[in-house]
């Protein structure tokens, strides 16, 4: 294990032949969400997952922190199948940020310090302020009612809340899609800074070409649940479909 700069050469996540099929239900036939997806993510690296709506991007991300149970295939975290881990521990180490920020009733402080019963959380004043600064927010926000924040502030508070749990990986599900362009840019900036400053591994599902370009790292292009293209280091290539998708001209 290398203590130096990321990427480290050690896989934090590896996915082998993942498939997710929703069984047939009354009035609906079965639906294949993911088919034969394999990927590796090195510690400290970044991976962006792109693809048209309904291509299974979010489901893939949700399989990583086990909010979703794959039908077949293996997800490994530090080399161990995640089915051998306590999902609660996995989710603290691989923090998930949802597309629409969910903040609970109360102040920003209440939201940051929210913890499962019996879970030790270092929520000292110094640390709370540090986390808010890390996501580019004023520390005076701590006492503010969470419901009063703007969309961009809310999303950054949810990222700060995830950071407070000292995760190794951030799983971001379209973190900017619910935001207006200026706020989206701030969040993109925040994420890219965190990767550098905290040595975090970032796995992000996104539609935003901005985030893809700024974050760098690997790029996975998913279509109808299958890996259409994979680039270990995104250099602007990836074939015409991917190019068209990122340019926003994809059908």
């Amino acid at each position: 294990m290398s203590p130096h700069d990321a990427p480290s050469g050690e896989n934090i996540f590896s996915v082998e032949n993942l498939a997710l099929v929703y069984p047939a239900r009354k009035g609906q036939s079965s639906a294949t969400i993911l088919a034969d997806v394999s990927l590796e993510v090195e510690r400290g690296s970044a991976l962006t997952i792109v693809g048209p709506s309904g291509s299974g991007k979010s489901s893939l991300l949700r399989c990583l922190n086990r909010l979703e149970e794959p039908t077949s295939g293996v997800v490994r975290f530090h080399g161990r199948s995640i089915t051998e881990l306590d999902p609660r521990m996995l989710r603290r180490r691989a923090a998930f940020v949802l597309q629409t920020p969910v903040l609970f009733e109360g102040t920003v402080r209440d939201n940051l310090t929210l913890a499962a019963p019996g879970f030790e959380l270092d929520a000292s004043e110094r640390r709370l302020e540090e986390m808010l600064r890390a996501v580019g927010l004023e520390t005076t926000l701590l006492a503010r009612e969470a419901a009063m924040l703007s969309g961009g502030e809310k999303q950054r508070v949810t990222i700060a809340r995830a950071l407070l749990r000292d995760p190794e990986v951030l799983l971001l599900d379209e973190p900017t899609s619910a935001l207006d362009p200026p706020n989206a840019m701030l969040v993109v900036e925040t994420i890219c800074n965190l990767r550098k400053s905290h040595g975090l591994t970032i796995i992000a599902v996104t539609h935003a070409p901005d985030l893809v370009r700024r974050l760098g790292g690997a790029l996975l292009y998913l279509v109808k649940g299958r890996v259409q293209a994979y680039e270990a280091t995104y250099t602007g290539g990836g074939g015409e479909h991917l190019q068209a998708f990122l340019a926003g001209t994809h059908p």
Binding site: Y22, R91, F96, L98, A115, P117, A162
Partner: protein, 264 residues
């Protein structure tokens, strides 16, 4: 004194006169084009047939005077109530009938044991005159509160799934993540009972008390029974919905602390 003092026995002729009331509604429905005539008539026929059937069964059980017949009728009542409680839900809960059966049986058994065994103490304990109507009230109210709790739980699970998964993602267990929804469902199911306790007797005399007074019992005896009934129903409804919600919410969670979103 099963018939009380001075009860007027209603003849078929008098029941026929009561039917005139329904015919008035039918005329209103026809003139206002409400389209309810058919349902009204079917409803009237069912009322007569169902109640007559129940009357015959109860009369037979009262005269047979055997504990196992009384128990059998309770089981049948519980089965019907269990089915009715979940048939009102918008989406089925997998294994829902087992859940309601457990919840209603448990709440009824506990409440009935206390009210019959400790409070009223009829001899013998299975005296159908007491056991059947009391069990009926408990089951009926538990059924309604379980249905209310189930309805609230389902709509909340759907509306608040983002919130639940946000908590799961922060490392909460499945049970911890849905706790606020469980609380909301329990409150929704218990509010009618609590509100009922506030206005009982002021707006409308409760059914059982009305019945006892009509049957010739002194209002002071009737209110004593009614007080027992109100407290009994408070326990039965909260116990029934508590067991129901705790079991039902488990159907939406996996042992890996996941929300079964496809059930929503």
């Amino acid at each position: 004194m099963k018939n009380g003092i001075g009860v007027i026995d209603l003849s078929w002729w008098q029941l026929g006169l009561a039917l005139v009331l329904v015919l008035v509604v039918v005329v209103v429905s026809l003139r206002q084009r409400l389209g309810l005539e058919r349902d009204l008539l079917i409803g009237a026929v069912r009322t007569v047939a169902q109640l007559y059937l129940v009357g015959l069964v109860l009369a037979a059980i009262f005269s047979a005077a055997r504990w196992y017949w009384v128990l059998l009728i309770l089981v049948v009542m519980a089965a019907i109530a269990s089915h009715a409680a979940i048939s009102r839900l918008k989406k089925p809960i997998p294994g829902g009938i087992g859940i309601t059966a457990t919840a209603l049986t448990l709440s009824t058994a506990v409440t009935l044991a206390y009210v019959i065994g400790v409070v009223v103490q009829p001899r013998p304990w299975w005296e159908p005159q007491y056991l059947i109507p009391i069990a009926g009230m408990i089951l009926g109210n538990s059924m309604t509160s379980a249905a209310l709790a189930g309805d609230r739980l389902q709509s909340d699970l759907l509306a608040r799934q983002g919130e639940i998964e946000a908590r799961l993602s922060l490392g909460f267990s499945g049970r911890e993540a849905v706790q606020p929804l469980v609380r909301a469902a329990l409150q929704a199911s218990m509010i009618p009972t609590v509100n009922g306790m506030m206005t009982v007797g002021l707006v409308q005399l409760p059914g059982m008390m009305t019945g006892q007074i009509l049957a010739g019992a002194s209002p002071l005896t009737a209110i004593r029974y009614q007080i027992v009934v109100v407290f009994m129903l408070a326990v039965a409804t909260s116990l029934g919905s508590l067991v129901f919600v705790r079991l039902a919410v488990g159907r939406y969670l996996t042992s890996a602390h996941q929300l079964r979103r496809y059930l929503l």
